[in-house]
Subunit: 146 residues, 2 copies
């Protein structure tokens, strides 16, 4: 049984996420997705719009996902040591370095292989673009501006 | 084989949608979801943020969904006649009247039963609330306002 792990914030789900998780699942038999905690997302990216327990629930509702779990708030390798994945799938735009992640996993006793996945070929709607689209349609704050 | 049909816009997926579709699937063996066309959503509700082909793709990626199809732009019963569901599941806040829908299905030769599902018990984030949250965090339009 080959266990694959993928991680992310998954704030507003879009087809790029589904593509990433579908490709990750193809690398093995079981896909465990680590959903970043609110405080981790806040520190590394921005405050999520959807709270962590609901982001986890939505990711677990996706077909390629066997289990979705919340990550650690302090040490991203804590979950790796607990879940012992055979493969860690990185999205095309996730910033970690493959060799560094493999090295740190090995140092902690988990000989996982790190695989970089390709970009979604039709990425016409990523989270940032979706957020911009929603914000552009925000009601004007003052009546004069309408 | 009991075929269940559910419909909706499914613009920004949230746990209430997953709950609705999970409950709908429990009513039979196969769940076909009709995703409203952009022009139908525009007419009945508001312009969707996510275009119809991506909304369809996201709905089909959800575990309870066997098939997601785009609806008709002119006649909502066109899809009912083509798919011939045994059961039509209505969400707790969908405005159709059960008896009227059953009557119209019967007139068109589809003896479907219409079942009204209950509300998501923990609906702490619906689409409207999520949109408001995103819009409230929109960058200020003028530099003085920052």
């Amino acid at each position: 049984m080959v266990r694959v792990m993928a991680t992310g914030v998954f704030d507003l789900l879009h087809p790029g996420h589904v593509y990433f998780l579908t490709e990750a699942k193809k690398l093995g038999d079981e896909l465990v997705v680590v959903v970043a905690r609110d405080q981790t997302a806040r520190r590394l990216k921005r405050e999520p719009f959807v709270p962590e327990h609901l982001r986890r629930e939505m990711v677990e509702a996706l077909k390629p996902v066997d289990r979705a779990i919340l990550g650690s708030t302090t040490d991203i390798y804590e979950t790796v040591v607990r879940e012992r994945p055979d493969i860690i799938a990185l999205g095309y735009n996730q910033l970690w370095n493959e060799r560094e992640v493999e090295g740190e996993c090995a140092r902690r006793g988990v000989p996982a292989k790190v695989v970089r996945l390709g970009a979604y070929p039709h990425n016409d709607i990523a989270t940032r673009k979706l957020v911009e689209r929603i914000q552009q349609r925000a009601p004007s704050p003052s009546p004069e501006a309408r």
